[in-house]
Assembly symmetry: C2
Homo-oligomer: 137 residues x 2
């Protein structure tokens, strides 16, 4: 398969394929006599794996490491990395939840300004009416 076809099937830009190759996520593929890349069919599946791992919250560097580690099994560290990533996700969820709670209070309390809210028991962070002069462009 040629770049265009792989890119289309995987739903990626051609440039992105070459980018992944540079980043070490994709092996250097075979070439035609003329120098065009020729990918094996499995590449599409591999790209799906990469995208899935990205969705799982891994950075490209992390994905590269995971693929590298996973190439010879038993993959040393795949499980551990998943466990670590779960902890990271739990932290993110907790952060978002507290943010959500604050926003819900903002809505609930009918705050009318970020900097100079007049609502009673304003939930907005510790401003207590001092910042309203400082932002006037």
């Amino acid at each position: 398969m040629r770049t265009g076809e792989v890119a289309e099937r995987a739903g990626l830009n051609i440039q992105t394929l070459r980018y992944y190759e540079r980043r070490g996520l994709l092996a250097k593929p075979a070439r035609s006599n003329g120098g065009h890349r020729l990918y094996p069919d499995e590449t599409v599946a591999l790209l799906q794996v990469i995208k899935a791992a990205q969705r799982l919250g891994f950075s490209l560097d992390e994905v590269a490491g995971l693929l590298e580690a996973g190439r010879r099994h038993p993959a040393p560290g795949l499980r551990q990395r998943a466990v670590d990533k779960i902890a990271e996700i739990d932290r993110k969820i907790a952060d978002l939840a507290s943010v959500r709670a604050t926003l819900a209070e903002v809505v609930e309390a009918r705050c009318d300004s970020l900097t100079d809210c007049t609502c009673p028991d304003c939930p907005l962070p510790v401003v207590t009416g001092a910042a309203q002069e400082a932002g006037e462009a």
Copy 2:
């Protein structure tokens, strides 16, 4: 207060203050005769508001809009933006939760490779053993 003091109290880099000024988050402050910025005390509080809003998931552009909108109250749209942001956060939390579930399954099932897992009932996305050849740098 001079830049350095404001920066230190707010826990920001001086460059960041000037960056915020360029971005319209901070009003252009008064200047000394020699041209040095002189900030009112409230600026520190305003910066805390900005940081808080960032933590609430707003981008700098959004924060600028919020401050702009909030400067004359009743702030048209603050509540609405908060409601929208809550929906966005709920979507993010749902995504993270599903990601977490997948990772938990990976751990549970003792997957041993991203691309070539030999565990039974592998939860990894649809790869079914086809991608293992495609990534070998």
